[in-house]
């Protein structure tokens, strides 16, 4: 956004939000509701795709393929404070210039709140992933007869709020979207869920809410204690010798800008960074989720309807990982350098523990839920590496896992639909009766267990390679510290993952068909369409990852630079 005002990012939220209202108010029948919902989510998807396309072609400049429709470029920061009684203002060109598209409006200036949306390499693919999965969820659950219009409307609301989380660059706005996300998911589980839906929905709500509450404390602490000092040190960069006092601000860009530069970092001292880091880590970790704060996830998944599961695992969990890369690492870099091992330990424990627990699960959905926990451990491990390759891998894992887990949860829905059960011991020899289902299941599990050539491998490999290479610290720090050999522990998780998935395939697909299941039918056409898109992306990213890796790769440069020294 440079000279001309552009509203694309606001539109990205507004389209599904309007769609939510229209679907809720203006539609009557199932056919009507799903068509309207699909149209709105497709519109959001198209817009997000165009944005991604423009960003990729812009290559860091201001003119992408769609210029001047879209105009990239990080606008200057405005620092506003008072010197004595007079208001002073200065603009500052941000160093990183990462936020390619930015919208920023005054909101509550007295409290330092702005309505500020922006995307960079880290958020853009996730902003693309969100409407993609919403659209595919609508297509997949094309025949939801129970309270149709509310169902499809809530899916759109999910799309709006999650996109809001990924784009918000003001802490207050971020917190609002973060909480708003809970509402549609709570209702999706609570209304369209299985037999224990109440328990699951409440558990989900309480867990994420507690995590959020602690995070919120930290946001306020940073807001009140740190942001005035950070603004003052940024002011010093302008060279203006006037002494200026600043109000606290929620503007995340200002914090990111100040913390990105070792010279202006001082106002956020380490002793403050550490508690803030822990609080944020807890909030994001519960959302991710990490062991031992994970038990809400299997319950939520088992009870949630398929579309709910897809969005829960596909984009909701990604909010936790996104928060770590957007907030915890860049805003508290010194604390991250001290506490990286905490992330590594939690990540490794999640990977090992969850992978083991997968094996004895009877319910397919529960198994996939636990495997999600394990795979989110990679994100923590990648973040803990403080290394460019590792960070890019961890962030990329968010995207890849979103695709894979969507396929897997859809498959759980398909098999329930086709056979009436999700219990693995009852499903035998499906390969003979459900060939298409079996094919997709094999692709999905292989991608999930990290088979090279499919997308999961790329990010998992980068995480391991980055972690093992060690943080890119300034000279003096040995690049290959001996305890990095402990990487063998999380690597074991890869073997365990292979084992439980193979055993699952073995029990479900091979052998003779369980006649007790009666008549079964293979995937219907609308489900196939959803699988085709997702599997296509899985293979594409696996064989040619550069395109979707590029955004994360560019974002990781700024992140890894935080520790590299001046």
């Amino acid at each position: 956004m440079a000279e001309t005002a552009q509203y694309w990012l606001t539109l990205l939220i507004a389209i599904p939000a309007v769609g939510f209202i229209v679907t809720l108010v203006a539609t009557k029948t199932l056919r009507h509701a799903r068509a309207v919902a699909l149209a709105f989510s497709l519109a959001q998807l198209v817009l997000a795709s165009l944005l991604l396309l423009d960003w990729l072609t812009a290559g860091g400049g201001s003119q992408g393929a769609l210029y001047p429709l879209f105009e990239a470029g990080d606008p200057p920061l405005t620092l506003a404070g008072t010197s004595g009684d007079t208001a002073v203002e200065a603009t500052l060109v941000p160093r990183s210039g990462d936020f390619a598209y930015l919208e920023s409006y005054e909101w509550v200036p007295r409290l330092g709140m702005r309505f500020q949306l922006g995307v960079d390499g880290l958020s853009l693919p996730l902003v693309f992933l969100t409407p993609l999965l919403v659209t595919l969820s609508i297509v997949f659950q094309w025949d939801e007869k129970h309270r149709s219009k509310e169902f499809y409307a809530l899916l759109l609301l999910m799309g709006a709020t999650v996109a809001g989380v990924f784009m918000a660059l003001d802490f207050f706005l971020f917190a609002i979207f973060w909480e708003l996300v809970l509402i549609p998911m709570f209702l999706l589980i609570g209304i369209w869920g299985g037999p224990r839906k109440r328990y699951a929905a409440i558990k989900f709500l309480i867990y994420t809410h507690v995590g959020f509450a602690i995070m919120l404390l930290s946001i306020f602490a940073v807001y009140l204690n740190v942001t005035p000092g950070l603004q003052a040190s940024l002011w010093a960069r302008t060279g203006d010798p006037t002494t200026v006092t600043f109000r606290p601000t929620f503007d995340m860009r200002i914090i990111l800008e100040a913390m990105g530069d070792p010279l202006t970092r001082g106002a956020f001292v380490l002793s403050l960074q550490i508690p803030a880091f822990i609080a944020f880590f807890f909030g994001f970790g519960v959302k991710l989720p990490m062991v031992p704060f994970h038990t809400w996830l299997p319950d939520a998944h088992v009870e949630a309807p398929t579309a709910g599961s897809v969005l829960l695992a596909g984009v909701l969990l990604k909010m936790g990982g996104y928060g770590i890369f957007r907030v915890a690492l860049p805003m508290m870099p010194d604390a991250a350098r001290e506490l990286w091992w905490v992330l590594a330990v939690f990540g490794s424990v999640s990977m090992i523990y969850a992978s083991f627990v997968c094996l004895p699960q009877v319910d397919l959905k529960r198994l996939i839920a636990y495997s999600s926990i394990g795979h989110m451990g990679f994100v923590l491990l990648g973040a803990s590496s403080l290394n460019r390759v590792g960070i890019a891998g961890g962030a990329f894992q968010l995207f890849n896992h979103g695709l894979i887990t969507a396929v897997l949860f859809m498959l759980a829905g398909s098999v329930k639909h086709a056979t009436g059960t999700r219990d693995i011991p009852d499903l035998r020899g499906l390969a003979t009766k459900l060939p298409m289902f079996s094919l997709v299941l094999i692709i999905g599990t292989l991608a999930s267990l990290g088979l090279p050539g499919l997308n999961g491998f790329v990010s998992e490999f980068m995480v391991f390679a980055g972690f093992y290479s060690g943080p890119e610290l300034p000279a003096g720090a040995a690049p290959l510290l001996p305890w990095r050999a402990l990487i063998i522990i999380p690597l074991l998780a890869v073997a365990i993952t292979g084992a439980y998935y193979l055993w699952m395939l073995h029990r479900m697909l091979f052998g003779t068909f369980n006649a007790a299941l009666g008549e079964v039918h293979d995937l219907p056409r609308h489900e196939l369409a959803a699988y085709l898109v997702l599997c296509g992306l899985i293979v594409w990213v696996g064989l040619y990852p550069t395109l979707f890796l590029e955004p994360f790769w560019r974002a990781s440069e700024g992140l890894a630079g935080l520790w590299r020294g001046p």
Partner: protein, 720 residues
């Protein structure tokens, strides 16, 4: 010319997509589409090989060529500085050097033959499109593996092969044995792959790149700087070797391969004999970078002696491990082949044993080369890769011939065969030649390469006596090999037919016999190929070529004597098998005559009890841990959460009760008192008094607690 290289990978990949997606509409022609794509890949490979030969492959003046494929991770756009891990982009390219050109040609050629054979063998099967699509994908993986330009790329194609192996072993997925075998194969090889993965990650962490050439270029500088040590290189080599042990079914990860014979026979021939299992050997050959670190060209004043070993970096122990695993597996697997009756399993154990020869050859070759120091000797390296090619031909032939037998008699059990010579004349002839080659009878191919491996091992004995032991293992293996291969021939083709329906026996159709005959030709001829290249070491070598026959410059060995010993061992094995299984001069019962012999025989049939042990440790141990953690998750972790919730709810209820009963109660009472006056008294009298009593009790308790804290607890902390 070499930019055409991508066709080699694209052709089978395209066939995979076409057959996989649309194959069901032309079921009968799927096989031919796939064969066609292999022919295309072979044609291009051959073209490149010829170009390379003209460009001086023989003699070592050929410059390694590359063809770009894709960029994986973009490069660093600014100067990364010294602390940054990644130097340059991670891109995939095809590499064409002597070894990869030979391997590409070999693999695509074998793929043509075996796919052609499959057209006949699978003619009556359902699911042909699936079969041929997976075969095509597999061949893509194998061709990609041998033409990889870096370790990451190698790993990716390696895993694609593993996937296809899994799918093809489980081709008859409704058979429980096939399903289990597929799972086992994937899991066991994956254990090795995991070590391989760690190795690749460590390579990246140390060298900042995956590329073979860059690693080699950076080795001397890193060695001088001390960031690379022999221990580290040994670790890297052994991690990679872990992958090879899994893929090439070496001890202790050998036990998946015999089970993998549940797959269709062409799969066994292509994947589990001729190509995929060779990838492990190929990987060990690639890890010579670490086993025998050498100076690259520009470090030496005279380019003609390029390949000087960096002696202070040689990981001697790692080399010994490789050689020892090879030598041990050779005899270990050969012994198991002695007793089995399943024709395919005998061949499977034989494959393990022969692969072990190659590993032994590489280990011994690395030792020889490192030991020779300034005058590098690539004899072992060359011999192992020579054996790789020879074995690919004769073992593919043996498997396909066995398939032809199974096709006719519909059983794998050699006890229900016999006398098939009359009914399957061509199968008999070809299989006989294959067995002679396997047994190592000159002038057939197996002899030449096996003899060289053994000679190199013996030569090393002068510098490390352990190699003498490995040499003895090798000779004993040669004897056993000859014995079991002719036991197989005699039990299957000689004597009288012991199975059912002798009238239905028939020779296989030409599309199956044709490939057998071609392979037979190559089994005879591939052994004398070095005569055309002035020594195989002049074509495939590590470091620099040597024009003579590799065993020429040996100092401690008279090669002729060793050759005679090998031949005697082989002939002895054949003769013993002849006496026992054809002439029956010696009854087979002699092997189970005494208690100890019977015990040995049972142990062999039960594969030394390794399979059940592995099941116990791997499967049951894993299940036990998993169940335990699952219990923990349900009862403890979730239990704590639910307990906390219960506690919260209980607190809430208690406060609610307290609120209503006392606080609200008092307020109400006061108001009620004023309003209702006299009623109050009656209330107190009718039972509310104990509530007040309770309140008094709580107050008292709090008071006592306060006193307790003040008088007892506080002094403990140094207060009042």
């Amino acid at each position: 010319m070499f930019e055409l290289g991508w066709i080699i990978l694209a052709a089978p990949l395209l066939a995979f997509l076409v057959v996989g997606l649309f194959g069901r509409w032309f079921k009968e022609y799927c096989g031919w589409v796939v064969v066609g794509s292999f022919v295309a890949a072979f044609a291009v490979s051959l073209l490149l090989l010829v170009t390379g030969l003209q460009g001086g492959m023989i003699g070592g003046t050929f410059e390694t060529q590359h063809a770009p494929l894709v960029v994986w991770v973009p490069g660093v756009d600014v100067d990364p500085g010294p602390n940054v891990t990644l130097q340059g982009e991670i891109a995939f390219r095809m590499q064409f050097d002597n070894l990869s050109l030979v391997m590409l040609t070999l693999v695509s050629f074998l793929a043509i033959l075996i796919a052609t054979y499959s057209v006949g063998y699978m003619a009556h099967e359902e699911g042909k499109p699936r079969f041929f699509a997976e075969i095509a994908l597999f061949v893509t993986g194998m061709l990609g593996t041998v033409s990889a330009d870096n370790f990451l790329q190698l790993l990716i194609f390696w895993e694609i092969m593993g996937l296809c192996s899994y799918l093809l072993i489980g081709f008859w997925y409704h058979k429980p044995e096939a399903a289990s075998a597929a799972k086992k194969a994937f899991m066991v090889t994956r254990i090795g792959d995991l070590l391989f993965l760690v190795g690749v990650i460590a390579i990246f962490a140390i060298f900042g790149t995956f590329e073979f050439e860059k690693i080699r270029e950076e080795m001397p500088a890193l060695g001088l700087a001390g960031s690379v040590t022999p221990e580290l290189l040994g670790l890297l080599a052994l991690l990679l070797f872990g992958g090879a042990v899994g893929k090439s079914a070496q001890f202790p990860l050998h036990f998946w391969l015999p089970d993998a014979m549940e797959g269709p026979t062409p799969v066994s021939a292509l994947i589990h004999a001729a190509t995929m299992v060779k990838a492990g050997v190929f990987l060990v050959a690639k890890s010579f970078l670490f086993l025998v670190p050498t100076y690259p060209h520009e470090y030496l004043p005279d380019p003609s002696v390029a390949g000087h070993v960096i002696e202070y970096l040689v990981p001697w122990n790692a080399i010994l491990v490789v050689a020892a695993i090879g030598g041990f597996t050779a005899i270990f697997a050969a012994s198991m082949a002695l007793a089995h009756y399943d024709i395919k399993r005998v061949l499977a154990y034989s494959t393990i044993s022969q692969l072990a020869y190659m590993i032994l050859g590489l280990g011994a070759g690395a030792w020889l080369m490192a030991h020779a120091g300034g005058d590098p000797q690539t004899a072992g390296y060359t011999a192992a890769l020579f054996h790789l090619m020879n074995h690919a031909f004769f073992k593919a032939l043996l498997f396909l011939a066995a398939g032809s037998v199974i096709h006719a008699v519909h059983t794998n059990d050699m006890r229900s065969m016999g006398g098939l010579r009359k009914h399957l004349p061509w199968t008999y002839r070809t299989m006989l030649i294959g067995s002679l080659a396997l047994a190592g009878i000159p002038p057939l191919s197996g002899f030449w390469s096996k003899d060289e491996i053994l000679a190199v091992t013996f030569e090393n004995g002068a510098s490390h006596p352990g190699f003498y032991l490995l040499y003895v293992f090798g000779i004993l293996t040669a004897f056993m090999t000859a014995f079991y291969s002719f036991r197989l021939i005699f039990m299957t083709f000689h004597g009288e037919y012991r199975g059912a329906h002798p009238e239905k026996l028939h020779e296989s159709p030409w599309v199956m016999v044709g490939p057998l005959v071609v392979l037979m030709g190559f089994s005879v001829l591939s052994g004398i190929l070095p005569f055309f290249t002035n020594g195989w070491g002049n074509l495939v070598f590590y470091g620099h070529p040597h024009a003579e026959f590799p065993t020429e410059p040996f100092t401690h060995v008279t090669t002729l004597v060793l050759a005679v010993i090998s031949i005697l061992a082989a002939v002895g094995g054949v003769v013993l098998a002849y006496l026992v299984y054809d002439k029956r001069r010696i009854p087979a019962a002699v092997f189970t005559a005494t208690e100890s012999r019977r015990g040995m025989h049972t142990a062999l049939l039960n594969r030394y009890y390794i399979d059940p042990a592995a099941d116990r440790v791997g499967r049951d141990g894993y299940l036990w841990i998993a169940r335990g953690l699952d219990w923990l998750d349900r009862k403890v972790v979730d239990g704590a959460v639910n307990g906390l919730a219960w506690l919260g709810e209980a607190t809430a209820r208690a406060s609610d009760w307290f609120d209503r009963t006392y606080i609200d109660g008092v307020v109400n009472r006061v108001s009620l008192d004023t309003i209702r006056g006299s009623l109050t008294l009656r209330r107190i009298q009718t039972g509310r008094v104990q509530n007040y009593g309770g309140m008094i009790a709580i107050g008292m308790a709090l008071l006592i607690l306060a006193v307790f804290i003040a008088k007892v607890v506080a002094p403990l902390f140094g207060g009042g």
